[in-house]
Symmetry: C2
């Protein structure tokens, strides 16, 4: 038997007990006559003591121990003379009478502490050691708890968890698929799912009514920072529902998680923001609502005053930075530099200080009178003491730059507290998105998304104007999930494929089974998929999903710990009738 | 709004309510003035009535309905005059006042009934329609419930569910891997996991203490009946445990499931059978313990009586078929034919009838006296009225044939009731298995399995004799899971790779990360993996795992519904630097 207790559970009322613990040596302190060892396992830390009464043989064994050695210790629980209130077991310690080394340890390549000296790459290579550190372990504990609570809630709502296959079929729309050669069907390939979309729709056609799955999905994309080739979705679908039913159900899930995981109660309904409004007021379809600072459009009132930069543009708009009128020259220069960064892309920044004494000081005093600026200020709900930051240019780029500026100001003003949570729905997305390069429409959400009933008549006249029954769930400016009410009739689905430029033959080849299934009584249905990694990271207060994945891949899709991908032998390739070509 | 209630929930005390239901038309009966429709959804059936008071317009709409149409109906709940006690909603029906066709349906290719007229292949092609049938849906409901209960139990035991990666590295031992070409690392490949074995061991090294995952695994094997290229494991691992700890924990899981799913309580510990005994008494490492009928070896007492067939063989053994002494000639011929089938492979069958009057009648009366046969009978604990069935040949083949015969007799005697459950552990498996063809040892379980402490000294002298800390969990003769205590020290693991003939360089390439991880304080650990599909099928009383998988593949690894695997375009292959060779 390796242990009677874990390293996290002994308390003052266990004093006197003979116990056995196993774990890792976190620290050894030799204070002359006394040696203290801090023993660690997943559940906590316990202090072991070896004192003048310890046998010489044991003392000599202790002398040979090192950090991260795995030991088994037996001894008596005693009350500590100097208690440690920060440690749950801090009122007791173990006077050791026996000790076995279960396994030795080389000196780890970095320290196994909350703050480690290991760099990113080293920690990825030795991920199994990085996972020993408290903050990393706690991330996975959060993830485990989230997973259990998600299942508990959805099971309670009578959702059935149904596993869909991983070896499926390559699909044309969306990102690139990972493919898997079939040995039994040489020259043919499976594809790994980018999502179980078509399968969950089939399950609705099968009458399962409410489905969910926490499931791995795969995208062979050029990895940007914080993208992973494999990621986890909470995938859900319901029948006989309209958009509001879906939002209600999953608002319930979100509230359950907020309560169970973060201890937060939301009494009100989450705000629902129209996509058009999100773009207009926040320049983003995932607005961070932890703070207000909505955009005000100034195009009309700021043009025609002789300021050429403004007069020639499509859009002028700004944000009101409350109580920032006393910003220094230096700070304003920083902000100007910020908006001019290539990623933000604005030409310049106009500022207007609405001074506490009611006067104005702006970078465009040459062109605008105090009255003009008062007019802006009123339009932007500004009060004396506020700072107005204004950008101009073509509409879309300027809205986007203004979004960056708003988030930057939120950051600078401490308005983006990671312990504060502002969830919202963004609804009424456009159905289609025009792609200039390919000169065709793409599905904004995916090709199975239903247009709004009242917009279907625009299919032939003005498809770009059609709105979808599509929605995103956003927390703190991060898209946590998205979904839609689906098309459930063959003709409409065919029409959709048509407008996306998917030839009938290809649609038949790739989605024939779905179009066919629609013929046998498909019910109205819709659903949503949440990014599980992302949701964990937002709840955990981190910007990186990688911190919430046990064994993540790096930006080249490589697992540096196991060194994969790697070569496979000729033999295996021959069995698959495959040849790797020279670069 | 599509519904106020489901089709399974209205009862007598809902009478008088105005309700709206949505669902599929299961049946339409037109009885002159009255039309009855049975409406179906996942939750049940409800009867709709259209009578003489129904508007003409509605009646004409009803006339155009067909089976599997999806409709929405509003009406009033009334008490039925002729109640149907078999139907949970059988006391009420709905007098319909409104009806909308949500979707039409073509005539399904087979009937959506508990007993369908559709053949296997047709039902696989239209799996989404087959899934509408009660028995199929119930299988997946069982699976869902199993999954939730497994998680509930393991979470309660402080196991953490941790997702391990799907894009990993090809490994040499075991079955063939599915591989996944990497576009970002051209010419290199990921492999899909056959199991998360090495990752769960790394998690133990990381200190996670108790891990589980319900996870898809992949094996590119030539599919035998009832094998699937992708299947689901309940994968578990624990630290600081010995074999008995693991068995106790998962016996707890099994008892939890028996209770929650089947309503069965097991008060006793599950039997633990030594591998050697399982082979000796049942000729199988997965004995069906629903019935006794153990083998008795007769080699010593049946040889030397002049019966050449017996005298020249390695092994003679038999089973006692209780109360079968009156078996007819025909039945005995059938049994002889059975054991002579190539899959069973016995040369012939010797029978001994121990008649109720105490006399004997056997197929070897020429060679054996009544006294001899009485001796056999005593040896086999036979009583008057019993039938002894005896096989002879080389030991292993005969034990195996005797196992087939025992199961056949169990079947014939109705001793293999699928509603009776006899779980057991089989323990102390051999560590290694000699492969004649390749002239080397293979790991009986897998290369990470620890030998028994007391057998380690056999490594150099007689490795084939070493027993492993390995165990299988068996229910009703079906292997539900298997696991082992693992090697956790580099030297022993290297020794194991050596004896398996894995060259040091290859071991380093494939498992370097694990051997390396062992150096940093690996704890003693062990675990188990259960076949989730298989466990569901045993609990469901079916022999086929396919019935418990939503979208299974056929015996050529093909999904005939979506028609996968399939060709992928040249473009995608070029991006992967791959070429498909001609056959």
């Amino acid at each position: 038997m390796y242990r009677t207790h874990t390293c996290g559970e002994l308390r003052i009322n266990d004093v006197g007990q003979e116990v056995t613990l196993s774990g890792w040596i976190q620290a050894i302190r030799n204070l002359g006559g006394m040696t203290f060892i801090t023993l660690r396992d997943r559940y906590g830390l316990t202090q072991l003591v070896f004192d003048e009464n310890t046998s010489d043989e044991l003392i000599s064994r202790v002398a040979n121990l090192g950090r991260e050695y795995v030991i088994k210790v037996t001894g008596k629980v005693i009350e500590r003379s100097s208690k440690n209130a920060k440690m749950p077991t801090g009122e007791i310690e173990i006077i050791a009478s026996e000790l076995f080394v279960l396994n030795k340890s080389d000196i780890p390549p970095f320290t196994i502490e909350d703050e480690t000296d290991g760099g990113d790459e080293l920690r990825m290579k030795y991920r199994y050691l990085d996972l020993r550190r408290n903050p990393v372990r706690e991330n996975l504990e959060l993830r485990h708890k989230m997973g259990q609570e998600i299942r508990k809630f959805l099971d309670g709502e009578r959702f059935m968890e149904i596993e869909t296959p991983y070896l499926i079929k390559s699909t044309p729309e969306g990102a690139r698929d990972f493919i898997v050669p079939s040995r039994m069907n040489p020259g043919e390939f499976y594809a790994l799912p980018q999502s179980p979309q078509t399968f969950k729709q089939l399950l609705m056609i099968s009458g399962f009514d409410k489905y969910f799955q926490i499931v791995k999905c795969f995208r062979d994309e050029d990895l940007r920072a914080d993208r992973q080739p494999e990621f986890t979705q909470i995938d859900c679908e319901m029948s006989f529902v309209d958009q509001e039913d879906v939002l209600n159900t999953f608002e319930g899930l979100a509230k359950h998680l907020f309560y169970e995981i973060k201890g937060l109660t939301f009494n009100e309904k989450f705000p629902q923001i129209l996509y058009d409004d999100a773009m207009k007021y926040y320049g983003s379809d995932k607005p961070d609502l932890r703070f207000d600072m909505k955009f005000s459009e100034l195009t009309e009132i700021a043009q025609g005053k002789g300021f050429k930069v403004f007069d020639s543009v499509e859009y002028i708009g700004g944000i009101n930075a409350k109580k920032c009128a006393e910003y220094s020259r230096k700070k304003l220069d920083e902000l100007t530099a910020f908006v001019q960064k290539p990623q933000v892309g604005a030409k310049g920044l106009v500022y207007v200080k609405y001074n506490l004494d009611g006067t104005f000081k702006s970078s465009v005093d040459k062109f605008f009178s105090a009255e003009d600026l008062k007019n802006w200020a009123d339009h932007m709900n500004a009060e004396p003491g506020d700072l107005l930051l204004v950008l101009a240019g073509n509409r879309n780029d300027t809205l986007s730059a203004l979004n960056d500026l708003r988030l930057e100001m939120g950051e600078r003003l401490g308005l983006r507290d990671k312990n504060k949570f502002a969830p919202c729905w963004v609804v009424d997305f456009p159905l289609l998105e025009w792609n200039e390069e390919e000169n065709r429409y793409f599905a904004k959400h995916h090709p199975f998304t239903s247009p709004k009933e009242e917009d279907i008549n625009l299919f032939d006249s003005d498809p770009g104007k059609m709105r979808a029954n599509a929605y995103d769930f956003v927390i703190n400016g991060v898209e946590i999930g998205g979904g839609s009410i689906r098309i459930f009739k063959t003709e409409l689905q065919q029409k959709m494929f048509e407008i996306l430029g998917i030839p009938k033959k290809e649609a038949e080849e790739k989605f024939g089974f779905l179009l066919n299934a629609f013929k046998y009584g498909a019910p109205p249905h819709g659903g949503i998929a949440f990014g599980f990694d992302r949701w964990c990271s937002v709840f955990g207060g981190s910007e990186s999903i990688r911190d919430y994945i046990a064994f993540p891949k790096n930006n080249s899709g490589r697992d540096v710990m196991i060194d994969s991908p790697s070569d496979v032998g000729e033999k295996q390739l021959n069995e698959l009738l495959l040849k790797v070509m020279k670069k």
